[in-house]
Every structure is written in C-alpha cells, then in structure tokens.
C-alpha cells in the first residue's frame, strides 16, 4: 500500500539555525510530491511541489526540497529558520495522474528565540 512517513513528530531548532524535515514515501513509481505548512488555526499552505525535472525545487518562504529517487525521499530544508516558521509541516504524495493525496502524519516545528 502507498504510504508517506514523516519520522520526526516534533523538531525544535533555534532561530537562525538550519532545518531539515524528512519525508519518505512508499510507492512503485515516482509520484507527485508536495510540502504543506499549517500554522495554528490556519488551513494548509502549499510550500512547494515536485512533478518532474530538476530534483531540487524551490518554494515560498525560503524553503527548498530535494527529491532523491534512490531513497524515496523528499526532504524539506531551510538554511536559516525564522520564529514565524513555527508550524506543522505535512508531506504529501499523489500517484502520477491522480489527485488522491496521501498525507504524512506531520512534523511540528518549534523555534526557540
């Protein structure tokens, strides 16, 4: 069965430090890949997406993610975290040609001043 794993439930980083959030998926072919952010009381905002092509994708708010086919991973990174980045981050995959998202369980990011 298709699945998405975000192994870190909680991550705490200091403001200004770098960040990497992990996402692994299980699927026979390369799916479409997404990262969303959910701030408290807010809906989900699309940070970035990967459909094909360059495996390093740039998103909004200074985030980037790298697709690694050999590792079935799509990790999210940011070189310097801001206090406003504190939120919950969701990785999602959609089998190519479908719209049925499968979400990971999310990683809650806490930023220390």
């Amino acid at each position: 069965a298709q699945s998405v794993t975000q192994p870190d439930i909680h991550i705490t980083v200091s403001e200004g430090a770098s960040l990497e959030l992990r996402c692994n998926y299980s699927y026979g072919a390369t799916p479409y890949l997404f990262w969303y952010v959910q701030s408290p009381g807010q809906g989900l905002q699309l940070l970035l997406k990967y459909f094909s092509g360059d495996t390093l994708v740039q998103g909004i708010k200074g985030f980037e993610a790298e697709f690694k086919r050999s590792q079935s991973s799509f990790n999210l990174r940011k070189p310097s975290v801001h206090w406003s980045d504190a939120a919950e981050y969701f990785c999602a995959v959609a089998p190519t040609g479908t719209y049925k998202y499968i979400f990971g369980t999310g990683t809650r990011l806490k930023v220390l001043a």
Binding site: Y36, Q42, L44, Y99, K100
Partner: protein, 114 residues
C-alpha cells in the same frame, strides 16, 4: 492559486444533530475535495465533489453520513449528519488545479461534538 473560504470557522454541536459546512472559491474550478483532520492526526480524503456529478467517496466514508452538494463551479457543501463525539475534527475543503494534482486548501472548520 485560489482563495478559498469556509463557513463556519468553528462550531460546537450536540450529538445527533447535523452541521453543513460551506466552501466558496474565488474562481471556477472543476475539482473540489473534502478532507477530515482528526485531533493530532493527518488529513484524510473524505470525497471528491465534481460539479454536475455525484460525489465520489473514499473507503470508510458514506453519503448518508457525509452528503455533499456541488451546485456550481465555485461552491460546495459538506454535511456531517447524526453527529457523535468521534466526528470532532477539522474539516477542510480544497480545490484542485493542474488536473487536480495541485491542491489549495481552505482555512478549515473546527467541529466539536458534545
């Protein structure tokens, strides 16, 4: 992208009653989706609402419990029927662009059933 609004933003309801959640988008879209996010959990797709056809429900969700309407290309409703405390969740609608594979989400409706 698209701007999506939902009403109500939150509600507290008694068990056995029903609540209808509205989702409005600022442009015409073919595909709209409804998700449930149970407390502390991830999002689960309830159904796909396509204008002009019956909604398509995912495994574990049935029309009698979650009837959906899609009267036009900018609006949809989800009703949570005969509610129980287990229905306490955040319900989100989303719209699909790029063939549905790029989705934009509304702010959600936080439902508490007592």
């Amino acid at each position: 992208s698209a701007v999506i609004s939902q009403k109500p933003s939150r509600d507290i309801c008694q068990r056995g009653t029903s609540l209808t959640i509205q989702c409005q988008v600022d442009s015409q879209v073919t595909m709209m989706f409804w998700y449930r996010q149970q407390p502390g959990q991830s999002l689960t797709l309830i159904a796909t609402a396509n204008q002009g056809s019956e909604a398509t429900y995912e495994s574990g969700f049935v029309i009698d419990k979650f009837p959906i309407s899609r009267p036009n290309l900018t609006f949809s409703t989800l009703t949570v029927s005969n509610m129980s405390p287990e229905d306490s969740s955040i319900y989100l609608c989303s719209v699909g662009l790029a063939g549905g594979q790029e989705q934009y989400f509304g702010p959600g409706t936080r439902l508490t059933v007592t």
